[in-house]
């Protein structure tokens, strides 16, 4: 028989017990999805930025901006009235938006773009027959969605947006200081200045320039995110207006300017060779045959099922700072032969490394994995730059310069890296020794040279030039990013050392431009 017990005390203790269990874990689960940045008060307004050297445009007057009406005109006065009534009825959402955009549109748009890249960084799933569908820009919402923003796609996107924004802001600065129209809060003292006041003239509005450039180019590059892009652009323009920084005509002029410059950059992008970068099955076969003819083991895809190589002709995409001849000249010297003793030694090193990782090394692998669903390695370098830009309190045009220089170098390093990868078509460690198992996703393209190493050395090179106080940190990050690929079991040591050297050489092209661009 089961004895009857006195249940009441136990019932009470049970209740206490569950009360404790349920209350003890009510910790906050809020995780940051946007960077907390201070409001930007530029240390220097860079009044001469209109004369800084252009990259794609011939000069600031390639885009014309008509003179604004006088501040005493009735039309302008009615614009001021619009701002005043808006300020009198600010919603909480508008206040939040003003705070958000007051830390600088250049930083915010880069942050937004990293999210768009991560969202689209998904390789297509295979078809039932083992083939793979190709995302279609003419039908971006179909499955697989367009684009697959892998590292080459992403770095080209980052660089086009960054360059367009930089060119457009130089044009804007030219006209700002040509026309010298003050901001609404300076014209009319009854308009509050809800963002830090500066002496940057407000016509055309830099916020509008940024929102237009980003809207045009991001919509081209990430068409499925069009609604979010438009919403952000509208929010930025409204924040500029409601903060007393820009009038409707300042904004309209900025939008027109931004659209015009974005169209110039979009036209360049349309013919930069990216459309053909995927190659054809004949080209893929020729790459393998070429390696075989040289007596080397050709790379094969280890995806299941095997996937066509990622953008094999990206090495022919137009670079920003290098000519096609420069790209060939900067091609890395050949890797160790796949039949050489050195390659055996390097393969053995990968195997012993990946099988004997310390926890710290594993953390490095994951920190730098930057694989599927991430902003990719170039986006990681943009994120590294963000706090330096913010801490420097740069004017918007100078912040845009940082991202333009950085992303041009990253892009050109990507082009040179892809040129080298597909010129040699060298197998991954796990292909030469199937016993090698990787600690991170295996990229679906040839091994030599390491993309992480190339990107990171170029990024660290340019950032070290722009922020010398951070040079030690940037270079340590580049070394770490590069070595993470050996720890992960996906690269040989020579991929890394040669990739780092190549990345630095490519970065130097951008630095040579920066030294003579009139911004120093």
């Amino acid at each position: 028989m089961i004895p009857k017990t006195n249940n009441l005390p136990r019932l009470l203790s049970l209740a206490v017990f569950f009360a404790l269990a349920f209350s003890s874990s009510s910790c906050s689960k809020d995780i940051a999805s946007t960077e907390v940045l201070p409001a930007l008060t530029p240390a220097n307004i860079d009044a001469n930025a209109g004369s800084w050297k252009m990259i794609v445009l011939t000069g600031p007057t390639q885009v014309s901006v008509t003179a604004p009406g006088a501040t005493g005109d009735p039309a302008y006065q009615s614009e001021l009235a619009t701002i005043k009534s808006g300020q009198a009825n600010l919603t909480d959402a508008q206040k939040t938006a003003i705070t958000y955009w007051s830390s600088g549109g250049v930083l915010r748009w880069n942050e937004i773009m990293r999210e768009l890249v991560a969202r689209s960084d998904l390789p297509p799933s295979p078809n039932p027959d083992g083939s793979y569908p190709v995302p279609n820009p003419a039908n971006p919402f179909a499955n697989p969605q367009y684009p697959f923003s892998n590292p080459p796609y992403a770095v080209r996107a980052y660089s086009n947006v960054a360059v367009a924004q930089y060119e457009a802001l130089k044009v804007a600065w030219y006209y700002k200081f040509l026309y010298n129209r003050p901001s609404p809060s300076k014209v009319d003292s009854s308009i509050q200045s809800l963002m830090p006041t500066t002496n940057v003239p407000s016509y055309p509005s830099e916020d509008a320039v940024e929102s237009a450039v980003n809207t045009v180019l991001l919509t081209l590059l990430f068409p499925t995110s069009v609604d979010e892009i438009n919403a952000k652009a509208a929010e930025q323009q409204q924040a500029a207006l409601l903060s007393g920084r820009a009038s409707p005509s300042d904004i309209a002029a900025g939008v027109a300017l931004g659209n015009a410059v974005a169209a110039i950059i979009a036209a360049r992008a349309a013919t930069d060779g990216m459309k053909a970068a995927g190659g054809t099955s004949a080209i893929w076969q020729a790459l393998a045959d070429g390696a075989t003819a040289r007596g080397e083991i050709p790379w094969i895809s280890q995806d299941g099922p095997p996937r066509p190589p990622m953008l094999p002709l990206f090495g022919q995409v137009k670079a920003w700072m290098l000519t096609p001849t420069d790209i060939v000249n900067e091609r890395a010297t050949p890797p160790p032969s796949t039949s050489s003793a050195q390659m055996k030694t390097e393969t053995a090193e990968v195997k012993s490394t990946v099988n004997n990782l310390s926890r710290d090394q594993l953390a490095t692998v994951y920190k730098w994995a930057d694989g599927v669903s991430t902003p990719t390695p170039p986006g990681h370098w943009d994120a590294i730059a963000a706090p330096y830009i913010s801490a420097a309190s740069y004017s918007e045009v100078r912040s845009a310069r940082v991202y333009a220089l950085l992303n041009m170098a990253l892009h050109d390093a990507g082009v040179a890296c892809w040129d080298t990868k597909y010129f040699y078509f060298n197998p991954r460690p796990s292909q030469l020794d199937p016993e090698i198992k990787t600690q991170t996703g295996l990229p679906n393209f040839p091994s030599y040279v390491s993309g992480h190493s190339d990107f990171s050395a170029a990024g660290a090179d340019v950032l070290s030039y722009l922020f010398p106080s951070g040079a030690t940190y940037f270079n340590a990050q580049a070394q770490e990013a590069a070595m993470s690929r050996l720890y992960g079991g996906i690269h040989y040591r020579s991929d890394i050392t040669v990739g780092l050297a190549q990345g630095q050489r490519i970065g130097d092209y951008t630095i040579r431009f920066a030294k003579a661009d009139g911004a120093n």
Partner: protein, 322 residues
Amino acid sequence: MISLVSRSRHKLHRKILASICFALLLPLCPSLHAQTIDDGIMLANKTLCAGALYSHDSWDHYWEGSLERVNGNIGTVTTQSLTMAANYGITNWLDAIINVPYVWTNASQGVLHGQAGFQDLALAVKFKAISLPVGHHGALRAIGVLYGTIPMTNYTPDLQPLSLGANSKTISGRATLNYLGQRGLYINGTAAYTFRGNVTLDRPFYYTNGQLFLSNEVAMPNQFNFGTSVGYRKNNLEIVGNYSQQQTRGGGDIRPQDAPFVSNRVNFSKAGATLKVPVPKLKNLQYWFLYSNTFQGRNVGQANTITTGLMYTFSFEKRATP
């Protein structure tokens, strides 16, 4: 269309199995280490039940969100574990339970490296709040369990599905209602709510559930699970059928062709059976065999799980009283 996916060869088969399970109120063990945590059995005063359990869990089909598919980059994922388990009867109405699992994982295809190591230490106190005789036929018990897990090593949660676990501290409250008849009829119903602590990744940002998070910290959605078991239990012999469900209260789906993420919304229904038999001639030694099949789910593998081992019961009370 994402369509590597071999859709539901066994769907009908599973539906039938599921219906049978529901119909019989078959039981199931919600997790590998939940033995004795979710059942209605209490140990006698100053009794220790301890032993080792080996578990083998494998799947090749899985649900990417709600899409059923296979994946050539992993093939069949196998998770094995060896758990040292002990359950001590502090009094007739209070048990303390500890589980120490060592886990190793493997993928049959692709190049990903399996992981191995000690996973999460589980500690529980289980107590009988109510015990009511039901006529002369048996007894009804209400049991509460406070259960917590804590990772024993700093294993990575960022190589799903090959990570050893989620590397999250958890605490859960469980309530169990159990009927045990004089002739061996065993009916058990149990439900638990689990709070899961934030997880720290080794990277500074991650994308999940439609958003890029600029942090290495991941919020882990809480989980609710329940299960029922029906069978026979008498004279150290137990034959029980199990059914259980888990619902995760948030989290995103696995992204197309992406790896699972630690905070994904993992839901499943499982059915299976438990067999515990005394080992002949070895008094107090019991052989355990458990099987379960995940027949429905979201962001989870269609796993077949087998757990087997030996558990020995020591009674300190008896020794103390010759």
